[in-house]
Each structure stands twice: as structure tokens, then as C-alpha cells.
């Protein structure tokens, strides 16, 4: 089916942009948003394949991924805030307390 292939291509593109953001940006908050974007692109491909195969299981996976993403955001932002108390910066190059 040509139609879902377009969705898969879009999902691959968004995933790549998210990965590029994780590699290129140094602001921890923007890296965080790019990770969210990558999770979302995977959700899109799961929904597209669920549509293609006529199977609703993929949508259940997406639901679980959304819950995991919510938990990840809560914990990740708490870690960022706790770290900012120490280093006064959200630049990941300055988070080097454990660097040898």
C-alpha cells in the first residue's frame, strides 16, 4: 500500500531530525525535546503499520509508549532541575562531574 509508505517515510525523517538534534545541540532541554520527538515518530510508524496490517495491537503499544514517555519526562526534568542546583547550567558539556 503506497499510502502507509508515505507515513513510514515521514516517521523516518522525523526520527532522523530528532537524532540530529540529540547529536548537535548542547542544551539539555532541547536534547530532551528531540528525544520526545523521536519517541513520537516511532509512535507514528506503529500507528501506520497497525493501520496497514489491520491489527489494533500497535495502537496499544503506542498507548504504553505514551505512558513511558510521560514517566520519562517527569524523571528527566527532575534530574535536570536537581543538576542545575549544582552546576547552574543546562549545557551538557558542563555536566562532567563523573568524567575521568
Amino acid at each position: 500500500m503506497m499510502d502507509t509508505n508515505l507515513y513510514l517515510a515521514l516517521s523516518a525523517l522525523i526520527f532522523t531530525i530528532g537524532a540530529l538534534g540529540v547529536l548537535m545541540r548542547r542544551n539539555a532541554l532541547i536534547i530532551f525535546m528531540c528525544v520526545e520527538m523521536m519517541l513520537n515518530s516511532v509512535n507514528l510508524s506503529l500507528v501506520a503499520l497497525s493501520h496497514r496490517w489491520g491489527n489494533v495491537d500497535g495502537q496499544i503499544f503506542v498507548f504504553v509508549i505514551m505512558a513511558v514517555a510521560a514517566a520519562e519526562v517527569a524523571i528527566g526534568l527532575a534530574i535536570l532541575i536537581a543538576n542545575t542546583r549544582h552546576s547552574q547550567s543546562v549545557n551538557v558539556d558542563k555536566i562532567d562531574l563523573l568524567r575521568w
Binding site: L10, L23, R25, V47, I60, A67, A69, A74, H86
Partner: protein
């Protein structure tokens, strides 16, 4: 008509993703991220996943982006996050790695995903609920536990340090 709609919405999603990547201000990135989530919700509706479209708007655009915005207001005011000039090669290597990722992802997704089979079953809340609470009841309960643990973890991480654990003034300035 349908593919035209897809191209429009997909272009908005891509442009918003690029906006997240390229904005200098974290707040602009967060707003682009919200646009990206909203356009993905529209695409979910075109894929017969109505429940997920609603959940996407409520959880991502309504919850997660607002949380990120709060944290940006709290700590993320520094806009300049360019890496050191010593490490300009990072940009080149990242773009090369991303192209490699795009090629491998695209080839796998497009050529090995298999042919369509079965009639698309709708993703209305009634249908999703039936599958979720019958076949996937145990994972659903695990998700509930996961969210509870994450909530407690965030609370513990975010609380103020006790007086004896608090670093002294010299340690903070060092």
C-alpha cells in the same frame, strides 16, 4: 485529495521538527514541538486512530510540552548552546551519522515492512478499550505501577536537600 492533505500535514510536521532542531531559544523549540505533536495527532486521525489522536493532544501537547515549558522558564534561559570551536567537527559528524541513520531506517521501513493484510480495524475508544482491558490488562496495570513509581521518584529528586546534606557555601562556589 487525501494524499494532498497528508502532504500538507506532513510538511507542517517536518517544518516543526526542523524548527525544534534549529531554534536558538528553548521556548521557540518547545512551541515548535507542540506544533509537531499536533500535526502528528491529525495524522493519527487519518490513520483511523481516533483515541490515540485525542490522547496525543491531551498527554503530549497538553501535558508534556507544558511541563517542559515550565522547566524552561525555571532554568533554561541560556540561549547560546553552541559547542566549543575546538569541536566543530561535531556538526559534520552528526550530519553524516544522521544521513546514515536515515538511509538504513528508510530502507528497512519501506522495503521490509511487508504487504498490507486484513481490513484496517478502527481505533475508536470503544474498540481500543475492549482490547486494552481484555487482552492487555496486565501490561495496563504495570503501566499504572510505572507511573506511580515515576511520580514518587520525581518527588524525591525534586525535593529540597536536608540541612545536613546541603553543600556548604564553599562547595557551591567551587
Amino acid at each position: 485529495m487525501n494524499s494532498l492533505f497528508f502532504v500538507g500535514t506532513g510538511a507542517v510536521a517536518l517544518a516543526a521538527a526542523l524548527g525544534v532542531l534549529l531554534s536558538r531559544q528553548p521556548v521557540h523549540s518547545a512551541l515548535f514541538l507542540m506544533a509537531n505533536f499536533a500535526s502528528l495527532a491529525v495524522l493519527y486521525v487519518t490513520l483511523d486512530a481516533q483515541f490515540l489522536a485525542a490522547a496525543q493532544v491531551i498527554i503530549y501537547a497538553g501535558g508534556i510540552v507544558i511541563l517542559i515549558l515550565f522547566v524552561i522558564m525555571l532554568i533554561g534561559h541560556e540561549a547560546n548552546d553552541r559547542p566549543d570551536s575546538r569541536r566543530g567537527w561535531i556538526q559534520v559528524v552528526s550530519v553524516l551519522l544522521a544521513l546514515l541513520l536515515l538511509v538504513s531506517l528508510g530502507s528497512q521501513l519501506l522495503f521490509r515492512a511487508g504487504a498490507a493484510k486484513g481490513i484496517p480495524s478502527g481505533g475508536t475508544p470503544a474498540h481500543i478499550g475492549e482490547v486494552l482491558f481484555v487482552r492487555y490488562l496486565l501490561p495496563f496495570e504495570f503501566v499504572a505501577i510505572l507511573l506511580l513509581v515515576a511520580l514518587i521518584g520525581a518527588l524525591i529528586m525534586g525535593r529540597k536537600l536536608k540541612a545536613k546534606e546541603q553543600p556548604t557555601q564553599e562547595e557551591q562556589t567551587a
